[in-house]
């Protein structure tokens, strides 16, 4: 009888044979998939907890300005370079179409990096590591980040934010 026809009476019966074995296997695999996430949450080092606070764009801008004034160590192409205190707060502000300031971090130290946007949504994509986080206007998104490798890393915007989207490039330096 085909799948287009009414099934014969008594069609409701338990699976058997390979079908039953497969369902059992698939169910076990789904259990593995499910348990991996809480396992990594407690044991793994990379987690996105979504820690965030409401903030107005003007409020965030003011905090970033204060942060830059306190930690500025230089400038590159008109963008301030800052060196935040290990263990402390660091800010990156996204707007159409730039990231500011440039963070200078120390390898192995942990920072609370605050991300927010003045205008549209943006995407914080750290290359070449390929770590990606959403940046929202109105939300102060806090990443507790520990750079474990040295070098210059590029922030690429990966949420569409208008015509200049692909030119929105920022920088993080780890030494």
């Amino acid at each position: 009888m085909s799948s287009l026809l009414v099934p014969a009476r008594g069609w409701f019966r338990a699976p058997s044979g390979h079908e039953r074995t497969w369902i059992g296997l698939a169910l076990c695999w789904c259990l593995v998939l499910t348990l991996m996430m809480p396992f990594w949450h407690f044991r793994g080092k990379q987690n996105s907890r979504g820690e965030a606070y409401l903030v107005t764009p003007a409020g965030f801008q003011a905090r970033v300005d204060k942060f830059i004034a306190a930690t500025k160590v230089g400038e590159q192409n008109g963008i301030p370079v800052v060196s935040p205190a290990p263990g402390g707060d660091a800010y990156v502000l996204a707007r159409m179409w730039s990231w500011s300031p440039i963070l200078k971090l120390r390898q192995g130290e942990t920072y609370r990096v605050h991300l927010s946007s003045l205008d549209l949504q943006h995407g914080f994509s750290l290359q070449p590591l390929n770590m990606n986080f959403q940046v929202m206007p109105g939300y102060d998104h806090v990443l507790t980040l520990t750079p474990t490798s040295k070098g210059t890393f590029t922030i690429v915007c990966n949420e569409f934010c208008g015509i200049g989207h692909s030119t929105m490039i920022g920088k993080i330096i780890v030494e």
Partner: protein, 572 residues
């Protein structure tokens, strides 16, 4: 019109409603349903062509060496492509499928012509409105239209029209199920294909309600009537629409698989209870899934993310894995009963691969399972999403679900819908036989290119990657694969559209006769006639081996991604 009494293969008689009896299948076809299946399918193919031309332009722009469009037109065309493909082509086709599955298999007539007109009119008006806004450059906001990006109000109004129009079509489906049951046009349980469509329709209602909840305040804001909705709230509800609608597509695609397996190889569901339970799992567990688009978003806690990511334990994934077994297993049993019993895979190698209905469906099954399923679960894992979010890995994933899977299954379906419903035999049959391979092969190549480029950090929806100065030759090579795969897939798409349109205009009529056979599996002479049961282990051993290979690939890919994640900076 008078009723006809029809005699089924097993000798039972049943009453046929006004319409005609199909000379190929012996099933009844309601003439109103037939008209609206035609209208919706034609509209679907037109939007597929619009989206297809856009696709070619995009592929040739992302191929960094060619870099065809300028930035403005690239973003405009991404918006056009997303909406015409994912929303218009798919929804029109799904309404056509709903109208078919609630009438012919149930031997019923369509509930209402007026309702069907209203639905079609609203959907078409809305879709045209959206496209006009996009071409006028007033809707460069991507199909997701994330606030605070803002399009012309007609953009949102058009989408609302399409959504409400579709809901009205879905209502017509439910009402038809009701009158069929009331008038006892069939006895017992509804056929499996209709049951699958019912699951799709139920999810569609939940989905489209989310669409209304998010689009109406946004429309009102764009008119200046109300303040701007919160962008995070918008993302949450929008994905209630955006993700769940993908499950509608999965349901519709699986229903197509069962249908095509039956008509091309004579397969019957091994265990109806298992297949139906799997559809019920989709309905019950998918409504939480919007989470996996928000895994690296602020303001949403880890507990919420983990719980919703697994849809409370991946039971919708289980459902797909069940269908991934039952569909090929039913083909294997049918082929073995026809006498193709050699070895593990003799049934598969002897299958009617020259029949585009079969090859399209089976490629869709393989591409969806091995490509879409494995990548989808992996990318949608809460923490792994950190190394995937908004990179090209994401379009790499969904071009092997909704394109290599659903779209290819719908194309395969068309090779039967046009002869059976439009009553036209296909022209260009040689081209039709290679079309599924071109389209499936091209899309697979495109998706592989996207996935690897994405693993190297290449962002999606980005006009140019060279400005960043961090992507090397390997990433550029992968984007070349996107370009070439895109050209091949577009060729397959164009052949499909030309064949469909050509057949409607010039195809020989099949009125009153059976359609010209594409080549279905025939019994080997002297084959044993006994039916094989599902408890018979030798009957499904080939499929079982295939599913074990699948599970191995899945595990390898999944854990390789955990390894890749462990290599990036610690973050909380």
């Amino acid at each position: 019109m008078s009723s006809i009494v029809q005699t089924l293969a097993d000798g039972t008689k049943r009453l046929v409603n006004p319409g005609r009896v199909c000379a190929t299948t012996g099933l009844s076809v309601c003439s109103t349903a037939q008209r609206f299946i035609k209208l919706n399918a034609v509209a679907a193919v037109v939007f597929l062509l619009v989206g297809g031309v856009a696709a070619l332009l995009l592929a040739l722009t992302r191929w960094q060496t060619v870099h065809l469009l300028n930035a403005e037109w690239f973003y405009r065309i991404v918006t056009l492509h997303g909406l015409n493909m994912l929303i218009f082509w798919i929804l029109f086709m799904e309404v056509a499928i709903l109208y078919f599955t609630c009438t012919t298999p149930l031997n019923s007539k369509l509930f209402s012509k007026g309702v069907a007109w209203t639905s079609f009119g609203m959907m078409l008006t809305g879709a045209v409105m959206v496209d006009v806004v996009i071409f006028k450059g007033q809707g460069d906001v991507m199909m997701t239209s994330y606030l605070p990006l803002l399009a012309h109000p007609a953009f949102y109004f058009g989408i609302i029209l399409v959504a409400v129009g579709t809901l009205i079509g879905v209502f017509n489906f439910f009402a038809t199920l009701y009158i069929a049951r009331r008038d006892k046009t069939y006895e017992g349980s509804m056929p499996l294909v209709t049951f699958g469509a019912l699951a799709a329709a139920i999810i569609a209602v939940v989905t489209l309600l989310h669409g209304a909840i998010v689009m109406i305040p946004t429309f009102s804001y764009s008119m200046g009537w109300t303040p701007q909705p919160d962008p995070m709230w918008y993302r949450l509800i929008w994905w209630g629409l955006g993700h769940q609608s993908q499950q509608v597509n999965v349901c519709a695609m699986v229903a197509c698989w069962y249908f095509l397996a039956s008509v091309t190889t004579g397969a019957r569901p091994l265990n109806e209870a298992v297949c139906r339970t799997a559809f019920v799992l989709y309905v019950l567990f998918i409504n939480l899934a919007s989470a996996h688009h928000l895994l690296v978003d602020p303001g949403i806690g880890a507990t919420w993310k983990i719980w919703n990511t697994s849809y409370a334990m991946y039971l919708a994934v289980l459902a797909s894995m069940i269908h991934g077994f039952t569909v090929p297993a039913s083909v294997e049993v049918a082929m073995r009963e026809k006498g193709y019993v050699r070895g593990l895979f003799g049934w598969l190698t002897s299958a009617p691969w020259g029949n585009p209905g079969f090859s399209g469906f089976f490629l869709s099954l393989v591409i969806f399972g091995f490509g879409g399923g494995i990548t989808g679960v992996t990318l949608g894992t809460q923490q792994i999403n950190i190394i995937a979010h908004n990179t090209l890995r994401i379009p790499g994933h969904f071009h092997v679900t909704v394109v290599g899977g659903t779209t290819l299954a719908f194309m395969a379906l068309a090779y039967y819908v046009i002869p059976l419903i439009f009553e036209k035999d296909f022209i260009g049959r040689k081209f039709a036989r290679v079309q599924p391979y071109l389209f499936g092969g091209g899309i697979t190549m495109l998706a592989i290119g996207m996935s690897f480029a994405g693993s190297m950090g290449v962002p999606r929806r980005s006009w140019d990657i060279d400005i960043a100065g961090v992507y090397g030759p390997a990433a550029h090579l992968m984007l070349g694969l996107v370009g070439i795969g895109g050209i091949i897939a577009f060729t397959g798409l164009l052949i499909f559209v030309l064949l469909c349109v050509g057949t409607l205009l010039f195809g020989a009529s099949t009125e009153g006769r059976a359609m010209t056979d594409w080549g279905v599996a025939k019994s080997v002479t002297g084959a044993p006639t006994a039916q094989l049961g599902e408890h018979d282990h030798s009957a499904t051993k080939g499929t079982f081996v295939l599913t074990l290979i699948f599970l191995t690939c899945f595990a390898v890919y999944y854990f390789a991604n955990w390894k890749a994640l462990a290599d990036v900076w610690p973050v909380r």
